[in-house]
């Protein structure tokens, strides 16, 4: 066991910290879930890309630094420590890209990844449909073969698409073999949102942002080279993405360590007037943030050793999503009446944290996965 970083890793950290300190916009950008805010965030993404901080763990040829997993963790710690902007490109970089690396052809990788890294092309996720949420295999949007044109024609509706109204591309699952059993017969497609037949309708959330969209597809042509990972292989390909979403890459420990630090700062500011019971909540949330970091270090060690993580990622998703709610709820209690202000960052964070137990596989589904695949309890 060795819990220290190497000199090279320390140097990497210093480099990241210095660049972020010099470049993180102040005051903070407006929410990236609004049209105007999204545009400003894309400028920031371009800046990150130009300095090669956008996708540190990717190969250099695609805009990265070939950073190790340790360096990626370090970068994330520094990124959140610096209170840098949310990554509006995250659905592409953290959800689609791992799938492209694993299943994409060299041609697809070269065509897709650099523009994703620079923010020139922005990707939204087309998983959920009105009747397919937790039960993702109930997808009914379909793709029919157009052999003459060398591709597929897509028809259907996708919903709850984060920032769909602002993105240029969608990745999603469509049913290519309606006769096959539910989990089979799905194919993973890459769809430009400016293709003929696509209609994107942003819809307001309760807080007024237009952060979600419904995407309607009416006989949209997609060429064969925009199938990712093989026809009828979509479920297997998508699960690889879901695995990374729940696991290591979507919510790195740096995010929660930084939030816990802000919570402790807030507590110090208000503790004279606060319910002493809240002190225990602040401490518990801080312990949990450290536990999450340490558990991640264990996991990265395993990955470096060539082990798989598998269903363990469901435990990780359960933990960070509940932790995020707890961190923000505690902050709101400390804030008192000021918590309700629309401009209060803790309140904005809270509203987002509330969605954590729901997106990326609801926590109810994750508990089933832990029970069945980690503990070995019977399915039925």
């Amino acid at each position: 066991m060795d819990l220290t970083y190497s000199a090279a890793e320390d140097a990497f950290r210093s480099g990241a910290r210095e660049w972020l300190e010099a470049n993180v916009p102040s005051p903070a950008l407006p929410s990236g879930d609004t049209r105007d805010g999204f545009a400003q965030h894309l400028e920031w993404e371009r800046k990150l890309f130009d300095a090669r901080w956008a996708v540190v763990s990717w190969p250099e040829q695609f805009g990265g630094r070939d950073a190790s997993l340790w360096e990626w963790l370090i970068f994330e710690e520094e990124y959140y420590r610096a209170a840098a902007p949310q990554r509006v490109t995250q659905n592409g970089i953290f959800l689609l890209a791992p799938t492209v690396f694993e299943f994409g052809t060299p041609e697809q990788q070269a065509r897709i990844l650099p523009k994703m890294a620079s923010g020139e092309e922005t990707w939204c996720q087309g998983w959920s449909e009105p009747d397919a949420g937790s039960d993702l295999a109930a997808i009914t949007s379909r793709a029919t073969r157009d052999a003459a044109a060398g591709g597929w024609r897509l028809t259907g509706q996708k919903t709850w698409t984060t920032r769909g109204a602002f993105c240029t591309h969608l990745f999603g699952l469509f049913r290519t073999d309606p006769a096959a059993e539910r989990h089979r017969g799905l194919t993973y497609f890459l769809v430009p949102l400016d293709a003929p037949g696509v209609t994107v309708r942003g819809f307001g959330r309760l807080d007024g942002d237009e952060g979600f969209a419904e995407v309607f597809l009416d006989d949209v042509f997609v060429p064969d080279h925009d199938v990712l990972g093989g026809v009828d292989q979509g479920w297997r390909v998508a699960m690889a993405t879901t695995g990374s979403e729940r696991g290591l890459t979507l919510r790195s420990p740096g995010r929660f360590l930084a939030t816990a630090q802000r919570l402790r700062d807030l507590y110090r500011d208000v503790c004279e007037h606060a319910d002493p019971a809240l002190r225990d909540e602040v401490i518990q949330a801080s312990i949990d943030a450290e536990a999450y970091q340490l558990q991640t270090l264990q996991t990265v060690t395993k990955l470096v050793d060539g082990e798989q993580i598998g269903a363990q990622s469901s435990m990780v998703k359960l933990f960070w999503s509940e932790l995020d709610v707890h961190l923000h709820e505690t902050a709101l209690q400390l804030l008192g009446p000021r918590a309700e202000l629309a401009g209060e960052p803790w309140m904005n964070g809270y509203q987002f944290a509330l969605s954590g137990p729901i997106y990326a596989g609801t926590n109810e589904i994750q508990r089933n996965v832990v029970a069945e695949r980690v503990l070995g309890l019977p399915r039925k």
Binding site: M1, R367, V370, L377
Partner: protein, 284 residues
Amino acid sequence: MRFAFSDDQLAFRDAVRDLLERECPPEVVRAAWTNETGRTDHVWKHLADMGVLGLVAPESSGGLGLTMLDLVLVLEETGRAALPEPIVEHTAVALPLLPPDVQAAAAAGSITVAAGLIGDPFVPYAESADLLVLQHDVALYAVAGNDVQLTPDASIDGSRRLSAVQWDPSADTLVASEDALADALERGALGVAAQLVGLAERMIEMTVEYARHREQFGAPIGSFQAVKHHLANARVKLEFARPLVYRAAHSIAHDDPDRAIHVSMAKAQSSDAAALAHRCADRV
């Protein structure tokens, strides 16, 4: 950076697990509730022979010259087996403080050392201990069993034979003060945290086993969501307690300046994990 144990450490852990599965099954634990000492005798001897009791004593005292990082996995196993012995007190708290000859006797298991710290009015296993390491103010004293007066009391855990201890500190018996005391308290807290993690894991395993086979309404109860989710929550709590315990062991072994905080985090989290596992086991 590498947050994992070495193959040697894991192999030693496995050997201790095998020993305890063989020599300290539930029947032995239950027998200790009503026997004379509350202990196992033969297991204590086996642990001494294996080097466990003297693990953190120097080789010159018959120990293995290892650290808390090596001991933590072993203590986890003793929690897993619910071993009714004062091994945390003996090996983690007291052993490093003793003079070489006494250390050698403790490493060999020919004496047992109990410990009594401020905050707890009782010393477990004081009656069967040859030596007691006792706190007074900010110092620890090692006092012979013959030189103290014991008033026994009963714990709900039949094997934990408690006593209130009357004794007098003296310069002769002083073994630790200030920093050395703080270190000893940390080793004790870490040892208990490790045991709690092992115990929690075992409770979850046994409950899963029961839930896989106990049938109600024509199906194993482990197939019902309510049972699944109780167990999943307990398992997640454990998953995020264990790394804190291992980190704290590493911090003690490397004199990390934050080791006291790390130990407190480990103790708090592993207590909660064990409590949740217990509640889950109890209800399922």
